[in-house]
């Protein structure tokens, strides 16, 4: 067991959570923590590890493309996160302000993440491959005050800045300062004066911490707001599910633009004082294996899409690398198929342990634990303390008959649960079954008689293992990332040739699903390969490569209900070879 949060394992973070202690004052039931210690994720992941005598322990082993390499200790992490926190204060950023991080997986991303939290800001990481429209939607929704970015990505910010009145600070943290525009600030934390001490903001359990955007079927992406209390769930699951111990070298392959990259690519390992690796370069199987071998990675948390790509590249490549340091493998993002589990056990001598959770849950909810028999293809069992069930699709009553398919649901109240959809209380309430009209978000998230409904379907077998079936909505899960069809369709009709559009997921051997678009064309435009490529690149640049349709089908007319709504489920069912269901509402042709 890792030393850092031993107290939580013995004393129980849920007891802490339910005890409602005053902000910044945590009970120490085992003598591991001191009265008055801060509940601030930024400080727990850096200052606290140093205070325990581990300032010289390596926190981050970083590699970029080519020969770029760097190593940072927890002492460095403390000083550089202090540097970002102080810089933000000096710039006039106040506690509660949203501060966006929009950059590749460079070291400053990790320092800045902790720095924003240390000064009381709400950190809003966004995937650096987002196009300017995806960026604008999320910054506008959050009313973001400051954005930290790099020379490479600041151009996208400049395109939209005029339309974002709240965004008053553009801070470039890497690149050539001579290329900045008026009003932009350059800050390179590693060459700035070292900030050894910083007066950390005294956040409490409910102080907003991380804001991640997640896509839904309708409307634009929603901001899932988390709080500092989340760290208990993240630390405990990192310890029990990912099995991290203080001498591990851990690699989470996720980008912090998505929740896995923050919950388990920053907060989980560093709250436990564990060394982690980051590889900031494009994917090739050889590069990944070399990275594991060079850095003696022991615990590897990755995604099914990557695992299937590694499978595709075969066993011969694996034999060229010394992967003997690996001792535990886990996976998240989409269901891990049984074949991949069997392959990894045969090839690496270790099975990938699938885990299930969401942006909204903040931490792992269902998992295959170390030492637990794995049923290949199963998500595993609920984390201890998590009450999970599958609910009947119509009555929302828990299903008790094994292997019945229903909605995955959880009783509210776990520490890392999201606290709100930013500015959208009705959408937040809609995720809870049995909620009273007018219930506040605080009432919803603490009422253990309710069910939080995840939006995914599964069954539970007689042994209590959960088996993923699919989404309960039209959201597309591609490469482990959720993409909203509405966002894609809205962008598609902005293309000069597109009159109407529908976006659905179609099966894909590597990514589980990829985006397929059905479009009708405006008069004067004819279907062609060049037009298809033009539409693909239009979406790639405007939204993101993930949202880019990998296939476009031209239609004379899209199927609609009599009320005019496009019937995505009909198009999706055809792609998946499924029953198209009740078509009585289909518009007459």
């Amino acid at each position: 067991m890792t030393e850092g949060l031993r107290a939580e394992r013995q004393g129980g973070p849920r007891a802490e959570h339910q005890g409602g202690r005053a902000a910044g004052h945590l009970a120490d039931t085992t003598g591991q923590r001191e009265e008055g210690e801060l509940l601030n994720i930024g400080a727990i992941c850096s200052d606290r590890v140093c205070a325990r005598g581990h300032a010289d322990r390596v926190a981050l082993i970083w590699e970029g493309f080519g020969d770029r390499k760097a190593t940072y200790t927890f002492g460095d992490l403390k000083v550089f996160s202090n540097g970002f926190a102080q810089m933000l204060v000096d710039q006039g950023i106040a506690p509660g302000d949203r501060v966006c991080l929009f950059m590749d997986k460079i070291p400053s991303l990790y320092f800045a993440f902790l720095g924003v939290l240390k000064m009381g800001g709400v950190v809003q990481p966004l995937f650096s491959a987002f196009g300017d429209e995806s960026l604008e939607v999320r910054l506008a929704s959050a009313g973001t005050t400051a954005i930290l970015t790099t020379r490479k990505h600041v151009k996208k910010v400049r395109k939209i800045l005029d339309r974002l009145p709240d965004l008053t600070h553009v801070i470039v943290v890497e690149g050539d300062p001579s290329k900045l525009k008026d009003g932009e600030v350059f800050f390179d934390v590693e060459s700035a004066p070292r900030v050894e001490e910083f007066d950390v903001y005294r956040s409490g359990p409910e102080t907003p911490s991380v804001l991640h955007y997640t896509s839904g079927t309708t409307g634009q992406p929603k901001g899932a707001q988390h709080a500092h209390d989340s760290i208990w769930g993240q630390a405990l699951t990192t310890s029990w599910v990912l099995d991290l111990k203080e001498d591990d070298i851990y690699w989470c392959t996720a980008d912090p633009g998505w929740v896995t990259g923050t919950s388990y690519g920053i907060i989980g390992p560093w709250s436990l004082g564990v060394t982690q690796c980051v590889l900031d370069s494009g994917f090739t199987s050889a590069r990944w294996y070399q990275f594991i071998a060079d850095n003696h990675v022991t615990v590897w948390y990755s995604a099914p899409t990557a695992i299937r790509s590694l499978m595709r590249d075969g066993d011969e490549l694996v034999a060229k690398y010394d992967l003997s340091s690996l001792r535990h493998l886990a996976s998240v993002g989409e269901p891990l198929n049984a074949e991949a589990v069997v392959w990894s056990e045969k090839t690496y001598g270790l099975a990938f342990h699938d885990t299930f959770w969401q942006t909204e849950t903040g931490s792992i909810m269902i998992a295959n634990y170390p030492g637990m028999p794995i049923k290949p293809g199963s998500m595993g069992k609920p984390f201890p303390g998590i009450a999970a069930a599958v609910l009947d699709l119509k009555t929302y009553e828990p299903l008790t008959e094994p292997d019945s398919v229903g909605l995955i649901a959880f009783r509210p109240g776990w520490p890392s649960m999201f606290r709100a959809y930013l500015n959208e209380p009705a959408k937040y309430a809609s995720r809870f079954v049995g909620a009273a009209d007018g219930a506040t978000p605080d009432e919803l998230r603490t009422d253990t008689s309710l069910w939080y409904v995840s939006g995914d379907r599964s069954s539970v077998d007689a042994d209590g293992y959960f088996w993923f079936v699919g989404r309960d909505d039209d959201v597309i899960n591609t490469g482990g990332h959720l993409v909203g069809p509405f966002e894609i369709e809205s962008a598609l009709v902005e293309h000069e040739a597109v009159a109407e559009a529908a976006a659905v997921g179609k099966p894909d051997a590597v990514n589980m699903e990829v985006v397929k678009a059905f479009v009708t064309l405006k008069p004067g435009f004819e279907p062609s390969g060049d037009l298809e490529l033009s539409i693909m690149n239009f979406i790639r640049k405007k939204l993101s490569p993930l949202a880019m349709p990998q296939e476009i089908e031209y239609k004379d007319k899209l199927p609609r209900t009599r009320s005019g709504k496009i019937l995505r489920r009909y198009l999706r069912a055809i792609e998946w070879g499924e029953d198209v269901g009740d078509l009585s509402t289909l518009e007459d042709d």
Partner: protein
Amino acid sequence: MDDIREAVLEYVIDEYIDEDDDMEVDADTALISSGIVDSFSMVSLKAFLENRYDIRIPDEDATPEAFDTVNSIVRIVEKHSN
């Protein structure tokens, strides 16, 4: 072959490199492993090659390694042009 190399290089620069980016890209520049082109964007690069040269590149040949440089892409195009 030089024509193909030139056309592919021009497409890569037009589509994946920002206008005011001072990055130097040539036929040996790593595209996938450097992160200039990600695995999702590779699909549009493949679509460009298939359209432009009227070929079909099977998925098993469309690997990150095969698409990593303009020169390796040229070899894929030539392989499937015959």
